[in-house]
Symmetry: C2
Subunit: 167 residues, 2 copies
DNA sequence: GACCTTTTCTTGAAAGTTTAACTAGATAGG
DNA sequence: CCTATCTAGTTAAACTTTCAAGAAAAGGTC
């Protein structure tokens, strides 16, 4: 008796299915919740807010496009569109990179910084209420470990060092 | 001396910030990964695939639009558009609800079922490789607990029983 | 039954994302 | 230097999602 050459699928156990479902529910509900909260209070979706936060923490509040895209895990194309929109709002502006004429820096404007300062407390509250205020300290630690493991498995870095970092 | 009426923001601790960042990275990387996997192997984004899975598990492979939307946590509007697209692909068809003339049932077609059968193994593998094969059994259990807590806090059900379930 | 409200689902336009193609500048090899 | 290749970033078009508005049936209430 030979077994099939294509190995049989290892389906999810009942528990795994429940965990997976819970994961999908929680992550989509949370993303929706924060998108709405920020759309209402800051006039932009969550990912755009994340871009401003990145810039606010970068030296001189500016960053190369590619690095910014890598940090928030989006494609360069998506970032181009996003920055164009944020530029229209006056929260970011583009600036040529002195050392590499192909390059662009995205720069957080004073208006952008002001709007971040205004909306950050509300956003932190939302994150707290949805996540940290509901979990025990052990759960927070555990969640961190788990998320780092998952992210680590999906980061291109490591094995395929010279592949484009996304796609 | 009265204290300020607006309570001071409770910022995130260092650990919380790291956990939050890890959460954002892991969830966006995983969602991107599965979207690409399914776009390649099944010709649709992850959420659409989830709709077909729901239908495949429902009695008689059909479900009312609103219930389907609630199950996968998307708005009715989004579902309408999504079902329209899946209908064009021939994987779902609409059917009037006999008991409520406003209602529609989304029905998984045989083609839809066949395509699910074809792509399910690859998708389960992807989920396994990204998540379950990397976590210890305790971590899987813990992740389930954590995600249920978070989802529970965001579910409209409970307090606001008569609010629309989303938005 | 007439009236008002709620629920179900759809629609069209605006906003955001993806995909593939493309421009321009950097880099490496000969 | 010249050419091939790679990298940074943008763009156009197709697709998806959101938002606001609306049609139609159901469910009260008097």
């Amino acid at each position: 008796m030979t077994t099939a050459s294509t190995s049989a699928t290892r389906w999810l156990t009942d528990e795994e299915q429940h965990v997976w479902r819970a994961y999908l529910h929680a992550t989509t509900l949370l993303e929706d919740h924060l998108d709405r909260q920020l759309q209402r209070d800051a006039g932009m979706p969550h990912i755009y807010y994340g871009l401003l936060v990145q810039l606010s923490q970068a030296p001189r509040r500016r960053m190369r496009m590619t690095e910014l895209a890598r940090n928030v895990k989006i494609t360069r194309s998506r970032l181009s569109h996003a920055i164009a929109r944020l530029e229209k709002n006056g929260w970011v502006r583009r600036e040529e990179c002195p050392s590499d004429k192909r390059g662009q820096n995205a720069v957080l404007t004073d208006d952008g910084y002001a709007m971040l300062s205004r909306s950050a407390p509300g956003h932190v509250d939302a994150v707290r209420q949805a996540m940290f205020d509901r979990l025990t300290p052990e759960q927070v630690r555990s969640l961190g470990d788990i998320m780092r493991v998952i992210a680590g498995g999906l980061e291109p870095e490591g094995t395929d060092a010279d592949l484009p970092w996304l796609r």
